[in-house]
Symmetry: C2
Subunit: 556 residues, 2 copies
């Protein structure tokens, strides 16, 4: 046979998502007053698997984990930074995109999770720009292909060196038979508003577009000759920094390691625990409400730093979700519980809302928001079980709203309650641009007004009546009902559930963000299953090898 | 082996999309003054293939072609009809949904095209309600499962018999491992605004929901005991008819057969021709502008009937597109040309705009709109070639705007022109709810204002400058450039192009309609590729046979 299979990529799980600048292998972070420079310098031999080499600043999940970490740390640790130059330390190469050998050797599930995480990272860059005033400039010093250009597209501005050679390109479709699926197609037409016919031409042009034409077509904001490039990048970055509303100076807070206790069947953090039952393909996710005195002013929050419950608990939740997604593919259903004092959560929410304009409080609220979005975008079933002793209040009640269903025990004593805070009505927006409550009661403004007007907590009967929970079984039915719900779920096709949830969770408007996860990702995942891409003679499989791809020419 | 493969479904192509009530095999159309009753009575033995039987009012493409035809004819032939009862003639059975044996035995491409057409039919029902004042009432006299309920969801109102047994259900995910992909998931949460957690529960419940609960959850509008059902349906239908703005009485116009000349390599209608080059996997689609005197008042248009160019040409175009999709799967690129007098097109556009409130003119405009949407949703590449003698003006220029790219010959004499009419700025909306021009120049209101202000046609240089065409090669370059464009396109992965086009064509807002084709359909197509659905032990393949499905439990 002329064709030889690509080498299989060694399984890399478990993946750890925590990192810090002193251990980065692929990025250099340099801070010069209000402008930071985050430079890509990928180590070829330091991929997550030894089966591929990360040539030409191509990336794998490990490279993107460092990028995500850097953006996060700039937000929390360096409030004095107002703009970030995303650059490369490799000469005449910005970034060649996702590593093709990595993609080729990966399972379908790995491809999907890799794309999901890299999409979230790029959206986090845009979130930092829009909500934290941290502006990004992509400084393209050379080759900028595929995922490299998609990274640039996530920045506020893109400048390209005009050296007669350097171009931006999205060669995925013509070269590999797949899509520029890290937001590329969506951002080109929806964010940069490149005309759709020009975008069509551009996305089929392996060599890409350079120079003046790249500016005219709005693919980049400016081009500069090599001699002026560095100075122009600095000038533009300083200008971007000026429009930021971040504080003039620090200090920030340090994001220390989370240090969970890891056993073969559990992850235990300070406020979050995740326990797996692999036989039943379920997990139990429990979040503890805060206890003891809590900071109630920006100064106290700054002092508490990463130990402030609102930040600590959501960082732990975020980390647990990421590990679950990548390291525990067969866990299909996650039961969410909360424990502790709901009033303590409401008190923290009140503080957060009161000081929402403080830079750190703002960061914390948006971090909570991004973590909750991570729940919405996790392709596992979530059921919230609301039992006496739980703390489903305010920001923690968002977990019940994010869940596919919620079951609330209707106890005779009516001690089991849920409660809302201002955060449920306002700041914790979903990817679709509206709150979970507004999505839940789509178009029913009266219902929202009633909920806002409601004072105090809701017992089970009230919560069910108000539509805040799905079911409220009494003590006689509870055990059977929740057990059967979980068992029934575990018997369904995992793929059908993924599709079902991806459709039902996002009622209402679509945004560029939901288009990336809905339209673009869903098509990409389809293509990632098609023989024309991943079959023995598919374009992704034979790229760079002898022989050309062989296609089934039927259009679908 | 315990498992036996399902019998293969005999290829049924070529499919003919034209039909008429006197030849319907599956529906009965009865008109009683302002209310029509369209009753499903599927003939088990009259499927498009002899390899399955259409039991329990289940349907295949042939059944849906008749439904689409009936809705179309009611609009044009019966303006006096103001409301339609969608009913069943089978006792205690409304509709069991798409036929499972048909789906199981179908190729991936067939499944996708089947779903696309059925989605378009349901959207045409909603279009008739929204834009023509033709209201629909689903009268569910019994079992209403899967695609049966999705058909009901497309109606304005749904009433269900309350006989202790009849329920609505979406059992696709739990039974078959696929999605309710004919708009079901989207319409439940976005149109009927069923709460997402209730929708989740409902969509995993094989037996469905009946009686009072179905009303409380907003799955249906009302339930009636068997004894009152018929009368209640009549009463509600009359009430719906009253809110219609259709004319009190006819006459309508007859939609006569199109009678194209069919050869192995071409379809030739009066104003449209489609010629295949199967070796190159291309087709040439040519539309002729009108010639001779044209009607210029509603009375003259009524008299011209289906021979009025605006209706005739677009009916022919619609039919050609449908045949292309299903019968010519390997034709990847379609070159669109127009011929004739652009002024004649502009004159007709002017008449249409002037009398847009006339019932028939309104129908014609919306039919043009739906046909152009069919282009947007056809998974083939469209290139418009604009050459001297062409008639890319107004409504015909929409074909150039719908194309993935347009090439306009820059002739020395500047005789090659394109032109806009009011229809380009207003009535011919895409599925995303805005015009093709607005989608093309997303967010650039100034550009739109300039185009509106522009008087007269645009020559090639002007059209290129205005962004109305992609490229304007001169006579020296033309032949090579257009030939190379088509050849290059033909070499790319058909699947990558489908994904690329589905993303680039729909910049801007999303609507329920685009969510159905973007989010829902893309996920469904993914699932239609997954072994958990279509593998030897997949849920769709083993349903109704001995043995249970076997799943790969990994969540993706």
């Amino acid at each position: 046979m002329a064709h030889t299979d690509p080498p299989p990529v060694t399984p890399v799980a478990p993946v750890i998502f925590e990192t810090s600048p002193d251990t980065y292998r692929h990025w250099k972070l340099q801070i010069d007053a209000a402008v930071a420079t985050l430079s890509m310098d990928v180590r070829e031999d330091a991929g997550l698997s030894p089966d591929y080499r990360l040539k030409l600043n191509s990336y794998d999940l490990g490279v993107d984990i460092e990028l995500a970490d850097a953006v996060q740390r700039l937000r929390f640790e360096h409030p004095e930074v107002h703009a970030v130059i995303v650059a490369s330390l490799k000469e005449r190469i910005f970034c060649a995109g996702a590593n093709i050998m990595m993609l080729r050797g990966s399972t379908h599930a790995w491809k999907v999770n890799f794309c999901k995480f890299t999409n979230e990272t790029r959206l986090a860059i845009e979130d930092a720009s829009q909500h934290s005033g941290l502006k990004f400039l992509a400084a393209l010093n050379g080759i900028c292909a595929g995922g490299g250009y998609e990274l640039a597209l996530a920045c506020d501005e893109i400048v390209l060196v005009d050296d007669g050679n350097s171009a931006v390109s999205l060669p995925e479709a013509p070269l590999l038979g797949v899509l520029p699926g890290t937001g590329g197609l969506t951002r080109v037409v929806d964010k940069r508003r490149v005309r759709r016919d020009l975008a069509d031409f551009f996305s089929t042009l392996v060599e890409g577009v350079k120079g003046k034409r790249a500016v005219e077509w709005k693919l980049v904001d400016a081009v500069y000759p090599t001699s002026q490039f560095k100075a122009a990048v600095q000038t533009r970055a300083r200008a971007l920094a000026k429009i930021s509303d971040r504080p003039e100076s620090g200090p920030g807070i340090t994001l220390n390691p989370l240090n969970p206790t890891v056993t073969p069947s559990s992850l235990t953090y300070s406020a979050v625990s995740l326990t797996y039952n692999r036989e039943k393909r379920t997990a139990e996710l429990t979040v503890q409400a805060p206890s003891g005195p809590q900071p109630s002013t920006p100064d106290e929050i700054l002092k508490a730093g990463d130990q402030f419950w609102a930040l600590r608990a959501f960082r732990e939740l975020d980390d647990a979700l990421l590990r679950l997604r990548v390291n525990e593919p067969e866990i299909g259903t996650v039961v969410i519980r909360t424990e502790g004092d709901p009033h303590a959560v409401l008190a923290i929410d009140e503080t957060l809302v009161k000081y929402r304009k403080d830079w750190l409080v703002r960061e914390i609220i948006h971090f909570m928001k991004r973590t909750l979005k991570r729940v919405d975008l996790t392709s596992r079933t979530f059921f919230a079980f609301i039992e006496p002793g739980s703390a489903f209040a305010g920001s923690l009640f968002e977990l019940a709203l994010a869940a596919d269903r919620s079951y609330m025990l209707h106890d005779d004593k009516k001690t089991n309650v849920v409660a809302l805070s201002q955060l449920n009505f306002d700041l914790l927006l979903m990817s679709n641009g509206i709150t979970r409550l507004r999505t839940r009661f789509l178009g029913d403004d009266m219902k929202l007004a009633e909920l806002i007007a409601h004072e105090g907590p809701f017992n089970a009967a009230e919560a069910e009546e108000a539509g805040l929970v799905t079911f409220a079984p009494d003590e006689i039915d509870w055990d059977d009902e929740v057990r059967l719900a979980v068992e029934a779920r575990a018997a369904f096709s995992p793929d059908a559930l993924t599709g079902l949830e991806a459709n039902l969770r996002f009622a209402g408007p679509e945004t560029m963000e939901t288009k990336i996860f809905g339209r673009l990702t869903a098509w990409q995942n389809w293509i990632f299953q098609r023989p024309n891409a991943v079959g023995e003679k598919g374009a992704l499989q034979v790229y760079g090898q002898q022989g050309r791809p062989e296609f089934d020419w039927k259009r679908t």
